[in-house]
């Protein structure tokens, strides 16, 4: 594990500070006032739908894009104008970007071979380092192959070994598992987590897959339309989503249009028992997870619905229920004893919900605490 020892120097990891970064592509703003502080050794996911600016942000950190405004600091030093070659970032590209005409070993050793003569290791040293890295990424003996002869997962490992070869200050991965099939993805996730633990490198990866972000990252940065919607641990994102976008993007959510007046929340004429402390009156949205709604005892409940279909499950019954005044159906699991009859009406209670009142522009913003 000398390959690890070689990155030992950066064991503590480098902190990355992003201050007010903006980037426009023509008239289209790709990043809008993005500020983010990544701790040394942290594993951070940039999560968002396509076009949210997550890859642009990663490229700004790498130095492949230069922002129109704002600063990037590595360990407190301004790196905004540092050329990409001098940033020492280990970048793993979305489709790996391996050099097709070079063997695996030559790919991995590339970053060492292209160094200026003064700092270039000897041939033997490069060879030794490549062998270590091949071992480290569990590709022993495949150094003589060409990228075209490798599977997707193997290419991914070569790309990572190549990035690690230069002893990077930070590790950046763009959709690291995007092109792989589901089973390989699972294995590689665990493996990336291990690599991160072993190298201690500050690691930032881009993904559109919320499961991937939640499972791997210490903190997740949710991006939407070039803006950061929320930065938080997976727990914070699940339990205290800061915006309607976050609650809808991170897991499933049901949105009900409601009205707040004098501290009371009404939906289709019924009052919902939601704390509206400090919230302005007017239109609002209530968001809740399908898991947070349950069939309530007769005569109670916040909402009412009609049972559209029933299906037996090992633990009880799964009912498809159409909520009055809401145009989509929900699947609700309920224990056998409370099972309702097909076509019958059932009271429903909300265990947890979040309310987002509309602002002047009609956007649903600052979060209320909900129930």
């Amino acid at each position: 594990m000398d390959a690890l020892a070689a990155t030992e120097g950066s064991k503590r990891g480098t902190s990355i500070r992003i201050e007010g970064v903006e980037q426009d592509f023509g008239a289209f703003p790709a990043l809008r006032d993005v500020s983010l502080h990544i701790q040394p050794g942290e594993l951070v996911a940039l999560l968002g739908p396509s076009g949210s600016g997550k890859t642009t942000l990663l490229r700004v950190i790498a130095g492949l894009n230069s922002p129109d405004r704002g600063r990037i600091l590595f360990d407190g030093e301004n790196a905004t104008n540092l050329p990409v070659q001098d940033r020492h970032v280990g970048m793993v590209f979305q489709n790996y970007a391996l050099f097709k005409h070079m063997t695996v070993a030559d790919n991995i050793g590339y970053g060492l071979r292209v160094r200026p003569r003064r700092t270039r290791p000897s041939r033997a040293a490069i060879k030794a380092r490549v062998t270590e890295l091949l071992q480290f990424v569990q590709l022993d003996g495949l150094g003589g192959r060409y990228p075209a002869q490798l599977s997707g997962g193997q290419r991914q490992r070569v790309a990572l070994a190549r990035a690690l070869a230069i002893e990077p200050r930070v590790l950046l991965l763009d959709e690291p598992f995007g092109a792989l099939d589901a089973r390989v993805r699972k294995d590689l996730r665990r493996w990336l987590r291990d690599i991160h633990k072993q190298t201690g490198l500050t690691t930032v990866f881009v993904t559109h897959d919320q499961d991937e972000a939640m499972e791997l990252a210490d903190r997740v940065v949710v991006l939407n339309e070039g803006r950061i919607e929320q930065i938080g641990t997976p727990e914070e994102l699940y339990d205290r989503p800061a915006s309607p976008f976050v609650i809808s993007f991170v897991g499933e959510a049901v949105a009900l249009p409601v009205t707040i007046s004098d501290g009371h929340v009404t939906f289709g004429g019924r009052e919902l028992h939601i704390d509206t402390h400090g919230l302005r009156s007017g239109p609002a949205r209530v968001f809740f997870r399908p898991a947070d709604i349950a069939v309530a005892a007769e005569g109670s409940g916040d909402l009412e619905g009609r049972v559209e279909s029933l299906r037996r499950t090992p633990a009880g019954v799964r009912a498809t229920i159409a909520i009055d005044g809401y145009d989509q159906t929900l699947e609700i699991d309920s224990p056998l004893e409370r099972s309702a009859s097909l076509g019958g009406r059932v009271p429903l209670s909300l265990a947890k919900a979040r309310i987002f009142p509309a602002d002047e522009n009609g956007d649903y913003v600052n979060a209320g605490d909900g129930i």
Binding site: G63, R87, L98, K100, H101, V114, Q149, R162, A163, I166
Partner: protein, 300 residues
């Protein structure tokens, strides 16, 4: 490729059972043979026959006569001039083609489509017009003519004019070959090289160039063939001074007009030979290129 092998397996299996198998996309054999025959006939009539006649005419009075054609100092001067012009025009277009295709494929800038169209201009404009344009710009009565004459520089009716005209007619070759290739490859590998610490020039040498080398060589070959064979544009700017400004194609025309058929066709054999060598190299490259692309994957 695996699809193909599956296909043939199915074909074998079904023919084994005596079932007549024809892929739905295949035309009837009558249509196929008619098309092939037409194509072959055309090629024979318009390509192979003339090419053969060049060689037959050149050797019609024996190999001795053929060789004496090259003893003529004017013929030798024409060969030297043609080689010189190609030696200048081809590297010039190599540099231009690389620069143009690099900027078109890897950057976006205003006027990009105009640049692409301009590169195609020599393909669409008659070479004679190209030659005339140079005469109008650099000739004695031309735009810069008096200034050039005052400084003792002669371009038209001299070697510089021939080189310029040749560069003009050949400059799409390398660029046209490289633009689609580079566009397809994108710049992701170059970006990877940059993040690994390679300088721009090193990235070009170690990543870009190996990826485009076959396309580049292909473009250079075609460019060279055209540079040596160009007639129209060169004819206008050359002035046809024997032993001085005649390239091989111009010399061939002069000899032919003097009814010196053997000498004319002897020189023509050089050009035809060049064409055949180019074709051979091109085929060889395509074969090697394909091997480099697919061969390794097949060994997997």
């Amino acid at each position: 490729m695996s699809d193909m092998s599956e296909m043939s397996e199915i074909a074998v299996a079904s023919s084994g059972r005596g079932v007549k198998f024809r892929p739905v996309t295949q035309d009837s054999s009558f249509a196929r043979y008619t098309l092939i025959a037409t194509a072959v006939l055309f090629l024979a009539l318009f390509l192979f026959a003339p090419l053969a006649i060049v060689f037959v005419e050149a050797f019609s009075k024996g190999i001795g006569h053929f060789l004496t054609a090259f003893d003529d100092p004017d013929a030798r001067a024409a060969i030297r001039l043609t080689l010189l012009v190609a030696a200048i025009a081809v590297p010039a277009n190599l540099v231009f083609g690389l620069a143009a295709s690099w900027s078109i494929a890897k950057f976006s800038f205003p006027g990009k489509s105009v640049l692409i169209t301009l590169i195609d201009l020599p393909f669409s404009v008659s070479p004679v017009v190209a030659g005339l344009v140079y005469v109008l710009v650099f000739g004695g009565q031309g735009l810069f003519g008096p200034w050039l004459a005052a400084h003792g520089v002669q371009i038209i009716f001299a070697v510089p004019g021939i080189v310029l005209a040749t560069i003009f007619v050949t400059f799409p070759f390398v660029a046209r070959e490289l633009i689609p290739l580079m566009e397809e490859q994108g710049k992701i590998e170059e970006e990877a090289a940059l993040t690994l610490g390679a300088s721009g020039f090193k990235t070009f040498l170690t990543v870009t160039l190996p990826n485009i080398k076959w396309g580049l060589l292909y473009g250079v070959l075609l460019c060279n063939a055209r540079a040596m064979g160009e007639f129209g544009a060169v004819s206008v700017v050359s002035g046809h001074i024997r032993g001085l400004t005649n390239t091989i194609p111009l010399q061939v025309e002069i000899l032919y007009n003097e009814y010196n058929n053997v000498a004319a066709f002897a020189l023509a054999v050089l050009l035809a030979g060049l064409a055949l060598v180019t074709l051979g190299l091109k085929t060889f490259l395509e074969w090697r290129h394909a091997d480099a692309l697919f061969g390794r994957a097949r060994r997997h």
